[in-house]
Symmetry: C2
Subunit: 339 residues, 2 copies
Amino acid sequence: MATNLQEYSHKRLNMLTGEWVLVSPHRAKRPWQGQHEEVSKEKRPSYDENCYLCATNTRINGEINPAYTDVFVFTNDFAALQKESPSFEVEEGLFKAKSETGICKVICFSPDHSQSLADMEVEDIQKVVHVWQREYLSLGQNEEINYVQIFENKGAVMGCSNPHPHGQIWSQSSLPNEVEKKDREQRNYFKNHNSSLLVDYLAQEIAAKERVIFENEDFLVLTPFWAIWPFEVMIAPKKAQRDISEMKASEANNFAEAIAVVTRAYDQLFQTSFPYTSGIHQAPTNGDKNEYWHWHMSFYPPLLRSATVKKFMVGYELFGSPQRDITPEIAAQRLKEFV
Amino acid sequence: MATNLQEYSHKRLNMLTGEWVLVSPHRAKRPWQGQHEEVSKEKRPSYDENCYLCATNTRINGEINPAYTDVFVFTNDFAALQKESPSFEVEEGLFKAKSETGICKVICFSPDHSQSLADMEVEDIQKVVHVWQREYLSLGQNEEINYVQIFENKGAVMGCSNPHPHGQIWSQSSLPNEVEKKDREQRNYFKNHNSSLLVDYLAQEIAAKERVIFENEDFLVLTPFWAIWPFEVMIAPKKAQRDISEMKASEANNFAEAIAVVTRAYDQLFQTSFPYTSGIHQAPTNGDKNEYWHWHMSFYPPLLRSATVKKFMVGYELFGSPQRDITPEIAAQRLKEFV
Ligand SMILES: O=P(O)(O)O[C@H]1O[C@H](CO)[C@@H](O)[C@H](O)[C@H]1O
Ligand SMILES: O=P(O)(O)O[C@H]1O[C@H](CO)[C@@H](O)[C@H](O)[C@H]1O
């Protein structure tokens, strides 16, 4: 890669969203006098009687969790989207609003309160992947569900209110903003090139090598050229695949391996249980062909320099564009040491 | 406002960006078991010998601050954008990048280390406004500067690394993402209606009343219909104005009053020095007429329920759309109590 990109301020275009990120490589030298995050040193027990996600415990609404032994899914007790709310529309001049319905679920990855994906065996992560596949299909079959967002918030600093290993699914009738952007860019590219944007992109990354962290037969793990977060990572299937339900068992196993590799490298990088938000973007379940969609999982971790110094997406980032200091190429190199 | 909007999940369209926000009013009842922010109880002294922004102290690069008595501006010692970097472009298949140059400045609002805008007199805030006007004009005169972003990160939780009252200006050659969106939506509206989007919007808000927090002769203070952050506030001139340099002295005084009203109400709401990111969006300095632009200042504060519980913009928000629980109408009512 041209040394210019490692030396001078520039912007890079995210081909999936059509938006730019500002990169300031020289700024990594800036001293930090701001906030330090707390690192939880506490070793968690395998079972916590006060955890509302542990097996056999009672949740706030009075329901009792079953004595589950691997993955456990239930409908979110404080769902941001509800299935039975009325349909309405507001269109008064410049006030525009629309009702939105949906189904929100919580997925416990393991009955073991002390674990995280990084601690779990690949075969246990594969069970989580299997549940994601099942939920994507069954939620998507609902007439009124057109998009299924699978995600995980890990760590208190990422707004996670319970350390028990778990993720969420918010599924809904319309396409959220970020999905709209990727839908548009992938559709346009497919129309113009008659090939998938991400398949072409991954081929280019394999050739360039410098951002690739890991690969197995079916998956590539890399820091995208246009990554926003300091140690952002993308996992994507090498062959065209619209959504996770298309994965065969052997592919699901290789996907689980890729997740294990990423989360373990993260934990080793700063010797801490690495906080992040991860999510899967995939084809809408709106009944369209969506052949231009290529699914991928992204990890957005906030840590920048150490277990306690994170990147703040504030002032310029909120009013202008996302901004990063360390380049994606350097981030990939550092993560690769732990693969 | 229709009670539906206070009861059921819906999305609202931000007319300035063309993007949606998901509103889940019923979710405000959710219990919070997650992270609590630290509240700094320390009373700061008026002068701190270790502060690199206090008058007469030495900065990291060896420069000595003057014995300034009101507002003091200098070029950022760790600027994300630099004036003298080389010009280059990368266009290799799906890798697209462009050099970006600019000028970054720091503005100390007061020599008094213990103050914030909320503590300052209106006439002292007016001096800050005056410097913003001057900097907007002089930076904008540079051939290679086409946009001037004025902002403030306040509070450690907003990534502010020094409590001394200060803001920043990042000015640059291209338009950042958020500005691009507002440029496009305002331009389209002006073309279709031959009037300013924000002037029409403000008239509608004055008639609706329920989101208006304060007004004086020249300015309206409100929670926008499409606000993202729990207590987000916008200050906008009632009459069409492209940028802050168009304000007369009497208007600058009324703008300073509006800033005082907002920041003081914030501090009273949760009895804490309220953290936020604020910024001014205004016409680009690219030499175009930009007659469709209407400048406005926005405050994005993260606190949700108390001085220690904030809203996290994570999983669903990063992969899907911004999401809020408390409605903008309720937020306006609560802030109005402190005006
Ligand atoms: O420039 P500062 O105050 O050191 O840094 C702060 O503001 C910048 C501009 O919003 C952000 O990029 C940084 O993440 C934040 O910590
Ligand atoms: O649903 P939870 O875990 O209670 O809440 C967390 O994730 C949600 C979805 O990303 C966010 O809206 C909340 O701000 C965050 O605290």
